[in-house]
């Protein structure tokens, strides 16, 4: 079984579960998906769809778990297409580059407007404060504040420090997510 997917074992066999991995470009999403979540999944199972110019969704399906990844920010004209992917989402893994203090404000705006989507109301939120290996990386409390997470009053969320390239912190994060999803099975 592929890497971190072993944590999701208890969920296999239940209904299809959709997990979105989102964040600004360069945050580390692709690294997390390929290197950490599914290193042993056959290449053939990794599908990249481009339903329209400029919109690129990376997708990994393993048993009944579906992971979908795309970059937030940038062109506003493609945003309506995001909606197609929001329905029946069980969890959002939101990845931020903790060392990029310049763009954390944009990342916050993207997160806030995404969470306003009705379709995502019931989704569990995991925030990965990624690139903790870089000097000057923001602490958990700093990320919490910069993303304005204290405004979330009706959603369970949890922040984890990670380094996708070193593979650190992802175990704990995925284990927590799998447990949180077990409640929703």
């Amino acid at each position: 079984m592929g890497g971190l997917l072993s944590y999701f074992k208890s969920l296999f066999g239940s209904r299809e579960m959709r997990i979105l991995i989102l964040g600004l470009d360069g945050a580390g999403k692709t690294t997390i998906l390929y290197r950490q979540v599914s290193p042993e999944i056959l290449v053939g199972e990794v599908v990249t769809t481009i339903p329209t110019i400029g919109f690129n969704v990376e997708q990994v399906t393993y048993k009944n778990l579906k992971f979908q990844v795309w970059d937030l920010g940038g062109q506003t004209s493609i945003r309506p297409y995001w909606r197609c992917y929001y329905s029946n989402t069980d969890a959002v893994i939101y990845v931020v580059d903790s060392a990029d203090r310049d763009r954390i404000g944009i990342s916050k705006q993207e997160l806030v407007s995404m969470l306003e989507e009705e379709e995502l109301r019931g989704a569990v939120l995991v925030v990965l404060a990624n690139k903790q290996d870089l000097s000057g990386a923001m602490s958990v409390a700093e990320v919490h504040q910069a993303l304005g997470l204290d405004a979330l009053r009706a959603r369970t969320f949890q922040i984890f420090k990670t380094s996708a390239t070193k593979g650190e912190g992802l175990d704990t994060a995925m284990e927590w997510l799998a447990n949180a999803l077990t409640n929703k099975k």
């Binding site: 959603r155 369970t156 447990n179």
Partner: protein, 201 residues
């Protein structure tokens, strides 16, 4: 016509909502307590096994309907770095549950200091306060008689409000129902001062 019926339907099924903030040092047992509360008050709730509860860095929410009201819980992380985030929730909460690990005498002073820092907030004046001396299953833990004087020492910060120290065991659920009962009575009593939020559903 539809709006009229909908309005009527909403009025009949409306529930007053109260928000309960669960605070305390890391490892006190806050999340375990919330899971236990959900289990006892929610039919068919699939509880997280206690050994799968991990340190909170974020927010766990819970909803419980009891005695005709809805209680919404906010369970925050207790680690030192995260205590700076507690006050964001003060203005909107209707009660505080402060959990202490009664088996850990070495951290009682630290817990008391975090408590003082919290309770002196002007946003919490008059808000009912429940102090839970958790982990009563552990031999030789501190009982209410030992914990109470320590917190009573902050009497002037606590001021006039409903306040109680209760022994509980979040792990096996002993005392959990009583604690919720007491708290519900308190938020109802205090509702003229902190009115509930009306359910939007």
């Amino acid at each position: 016509m539809f709006t009229l019926l909908y309005g009527l339907w909403k009025w009949i099924f409306r529930k007053d909502e109260y928000f309960i903030l669960i605070l305390g040092l890391d490892n006190a047992g806050k999340t375990t307590y919330l899971e236990q509360t959900k289990t006892r008050f929610t039919k068919n709730y699939k509880a997280l096994p206690p050994n799968k509860v991990t340190a909170t860095v974020g927010l766990n929410i819970g909803k419980v309907d009891t005695l005709g009201v809805r209680l919404n819980f906010w369970d925050l992380g207790g680690q030192e770095e995260l205590q700076s985030l507690w006050d964001k929730y003060y203005a909107e909460c209707h009660a505080i549950i402060y959990v202490i690990d009664a088996s850990d005498r070495s951290r009682l002073a630290e817990s008391k200091a975090a408590f003082d820092q919290m309770i002196k907030s002007e946003h919490l004046i008059g808000v009912p306060l429940l102090i839970l001396a958790n982990k009563q299953d552990i031999p030789d833990c501190m009982g209410v008689r030992e914990v109470k004087p320590v917190f009573a020492d902050s009497g002037d910060l606590i001021g006039r409000r409903d306040c109680l120290v209760m022994p509980i065991c979040a792990l096996n659920g002993e005392g959990v129902e009583e604690s919720i009962q007491w708290l519900t009575d308190c938020v109802l009593r205090n509702s003229t001062i902190r009115p509930p939020k009306e359910d939007k559903e």
